[in-house]
Symmetry: C2
Subunit: 283 residues, 2 copies
Amino acid sequence: MDFSDFKITIVGLGLIGGSLAMAIRDLKPQKLWAIDRDLNTIKAAEEKGIIDKNDEDCKSMLLNSDLVIIALYPEDTAKFMLNNMESFKTGCLITDTCGLKYDMLLKIKDFLRNDIEFIGGHPMSGKESSGFTSADKAIFYNANYIITPTEQNKEETIIQLEELIVALGCKRPIKMSPKDHDKIIAYTSHLPHLTAVALINCFNNAENLDGLIGGSFRDATRVADINSKLWLELIRLNKENVIDILECFINNLSELKTAISNNDQEKLLDDFKKASSRRKEIG
Amino acid sequence: MDFSDFKITIVGLGLIGGSLAMAIRDLKPQKLWAIDRDLNTIKAAEEKGIIDKNDEDCKSMLLNSDLVIIALYPEDTAKFMLNNMESFKTGCLITDTCGLKYDMLLKIKDFLRNDIEFIGGHPMSGKESSGFTSADKAIFYNANYIITPTEQNKEETIIQLEELIVALGCKRPIKMSPKDHDKIIAYTSHLPHLTAVALINCFNNAENLDGLIGGSFRDATRVADINSKLWLELIRLNKENVIDILECFINNLSELKTAISNNDQEKLLDDFKKASSRRKEIG
């Protein structure tokens, strides 16, 4: 697809927004602008030629943009749309990059104009570091990307977004409902993060673990150095799903504990075999 | 240290035993023999020049060995010592590679001869694959290695084992009591494995997770494809420690669940911050 007619604005030049800017730059859009509260970041991105220089205000950028990608935290994303709803160009597409999709729809449904479209997006890529200085277009290479179109979206707009995502280097995006997305993400992302936190917090400071940690512990706790602000928000906004999956997990662990306590080798073997075969399926 | 006077026998040419044989071969011992119930493995190792050919029986190998490294599962290791106690050379050192150290001492204390020494060892290295065909001396490079000497061991024997371990490419071994080892390993290894099992077993087959899995899930479940036979044994032999740490972990998770349910942001932030700083300490 040819993006040379597109004027694109990215809102938020953090790790994801900055990486998106770098990847989109390669697609040679007519204009690529960015909005960030940190003007030094904007200046740095302009100087590196990642975004086009634009001396006008936020409003005029949005008025001229065919595509706006908002790469902020969930609540800031909704607020940005609310505060700028009058500025978006008729017919434009807005997408976001938040890790939650249903709450956003609830928040924006009352103020989203009828002459513009919103499609939620969730790039399944990241890094342990954050911010524009960590931005790297390679994070999209072969990455999974979920989009959550609704009945309000035109087929051609969905296709446009899909083609952009593929052009970034990602796999063909997976389409699902916002509700399904949030339920699955509670399992595949929120649970492993909470697990890492709970696991490392069993650490008794009296013990010196230096040199006593193997790969399994390191892997299981890799994401324990959590971005508190973002995660408080994600977990609050996905509360019901997170509680459901935590209950399932705690239940599985309690069953294992009981089986170990009772020397119930059959139950343990059963769980181990189930786990082995499921892990192999994931690859 | 010079190993050219040493005759060494490795019992069990699996991943660890095979890798040890490869690494020890480089140290040019006078003789390097191996015992394995699979004669094809012995033949393959001989043909590759990893071990010396030896047409005599197990007994004569042990009678001539200054160092015997037993790389079998925990209960097989104790059985091997019991069944061959009369064959070991006077003054020899026996070490093992099991992931548990205290139970072994209990098992062998009644039959270990006074004229030989045993020092427990635990190389903190491995691979997801197993068996001689996966053996690779590189698994020891810069690896942690724990040894659990007791009051029965002579200082010079302990130093000898330490020097061998460093010569394999490992870091200088960490010395600790068998009981401390097993308690810590319940946390740093057994718990992450059980966590991986319980986490992946929350998977509802009705959901298609293809393309919806990020790094955190993949990391947290990496060891879920568990070697059932070995792990049933490890967990049974370390039952009390495993139950204690599982209780702590389940308790932490339950507290997180309650905090999420009550929107207790303060408790969550507290846990997140504690986890972040502890994870950074590990590096």
